[in-house]
């Protein structure tokens, strides 16, 4: 019991110290002000023939209240000095953040390059081979669409932007976004083009022309919806695609998307948000 009592005592002492540091100077100034207001006549207006005790009492109280006011004032001034320093530090740090953002803006000529590099490193680390493509999509609630933030494929023609903006209610991305399991996949889509068109249109509500114009007719598509850090809101969809059927083990891709790389991607989503295109910004400005 003794160590617990000690730690409770230490915690109490720390609270008291914190309280004195935070409110002590203000309290001293307040005591001095109130004291002088209330006891001013008693301190300064001594009656004729006042006793020694009465005179001493007036002096002691007057001196105590004055000292309290002076000490409180000095500490308040010192504290306001440190607040000024903190404000100056904050302002200089904000300038530094702005300058770093400008630097990132200049280095990553646009957001897509930044994401391409990020997704390339994930795909390479997973050693999934050259038939794979990895893309990241952000949901736009105002237009009920997904915008592609970035894409990487080692084969150039599969890295093209494609449609760039995708309706939210169709495709594997849309299915994953609405799925309670936060994922959707198909890993054995037909090789034959006609069958491919038929199956993807039926399964994912695509228009036939849209499927026919796809530059990569992926036989395996695995989409994973990423929740934000607190697990409350859906944030983005990560999509692995391959030209091969049964191209990967779903469990290992799920592990990669939802565990291994999730925090990195969420962190990058936050830090790159300032250069991320937002269709709403353009539409609100009439563009």
């Amino acid at each position: 019991m003794q160590p617990e009592a000690d730690s409770a005592f230490i915690r109490g002492a720390r609270h008291a110290e914190g309280f004195v540091t935070e409110y002590g100077p203000t309290l001293l100034v307040a005591i001095a002000g109130l004291g002088w207001t209330v006891f001013r006549p008693w301190i300064l207006e001594l009656p004729q023939g006042a006793s020694f005790l009465r005179i001493s009492g007036s002096w002691v109280l007057g001196i105590m209240l004055s000292v309290s006011g002076i000490v409180g004032g000095v500490f308040t001034y010192k504290r306001s000095g440190s607040l000024r320093e903190l404000k100056a530090d904050k302002s200089s740090l904000e300038q530094e953040v702005d300058s770093l953002k400008d630097t990132i803006l200049r280095i990553s000529s646009n957001f897509r390059d930044a994401w391409k590099n990020r997704l390339a490193s994930i795909l390479q680390e997973l050693e999934l081979g050259h038939n794979f493509r990895l893309s990241l999509y952000r949901y736009n609630p105002d237009t009920v669409t997904f915008s592609m933030l970035g894409r990487y494929a080692s084969i150039d023609k599969y890295e093209k932007v494609g449609r760039g903006v995708y309706p939210a209610n169709v495709g594997c991305i849309g299915e994953s976004w609405e799925s309670p399991d936060l994922e959707a996949y198909a890993d054995d889509l037909p090789e034959n083009e006609e069958e491919y068109v038929k199956e993807t249109c039926e399964r994912w509500k695509f228009q036939e022309a849209t499927v026919r114009s796809l530059n990569m007719k992926s036989r395996s598509v695995y989409a994973f919806t990423l929740m934000e850090a607190l697990g409350r809101d859906r944030k983005a969809v990560l999509v692995f695609e391959s030209l091969d059927a049964k191209a990967a083990d779903v469990a290992s891709l799920r592990q990669a998307a939802q565990v291994t790389y999730r925090n990195q991607i969420l962190s990058d989503l936050d830090s790159l948000e300032f250069i991320e295109p937002e269709p709403k910004i353009a539409s609100d400005a009439g563009f």
Binding site: N110, P141, G164, P167, F274, E276, P277, F287
Partner: protein, 161 residues
């Protein structure tokens, strides 16, 4: 369609912060004007064939016209990072006669929407426009066709919501 020199002149004359009119900013403002006009009227203000280069929509036509036209002065100066930037300044005012009232309306809209934006916010606006969102780098931006696509894929959805 209007002459590029008239578009540059109108923007230089009416943009309130002349120090900000670098060739990159001016080119992107003209792109925004062309995009606005394509959205509202189905055609660009200028005849520029826009290209999505490494730094968003850009063409050298703007600086070439400014260099060739005696109404403009191209000033080379250092930006905050010590890099050289070319700024375009109006040397003498004249009547920008090839611009229609509608063209001026779209260019005024561009000025109103961008004059308060710092560079990074301005760039974010340009990168958020539909042609940049859906196009490949180093390809030509067919703004008129993209405006049609935008209306069917984005505006109709926004209205429906």
């Amino acid at each position: 369609m209007a002459k590029l020199s008239d578009i540059i002149g109108y923007l230089c004359e009416n943009y309130p912060y002349v120090d900000e009119l670098s060739k990159a900013r001016l080119a992107k403002m003209i792109y925004l004007g062309d995009w606005k006009s394509a959205l509202e009227e189905g055609h660009q203000i200028s005849k520029i064939r826009w290209v999505f280069n490494h730094y968003g929509p850009y063409v050298d036509d703007v600086i070439n016209v400014a260099n060739a036209d005696k109404s403009f002065k191209v000033i080379v100066e250092q930006n905050a990072y010590g890099d050289l930037k070319e700024r375009i300044e109006l040397f003498e005012k004249r009547d920008w006669s090839s611009l229609s009232e509608k063209d001026k309306e779209w260019l005024d809209h561009v000025i109103d929407q961008t004059k308060c934006l710092y560079w990074k916010d301005f760039i974010k606006l340009v990168y958020s426009t539909f042609p940049v969102l859906v196009s490949e780098k180093l390809t030509q931006l067919d703004l008129e066709r993209l405006a049609e696509r935008y209306k069917s894929e984005m505006r109709s959805r926004a209205v429906a919501v």
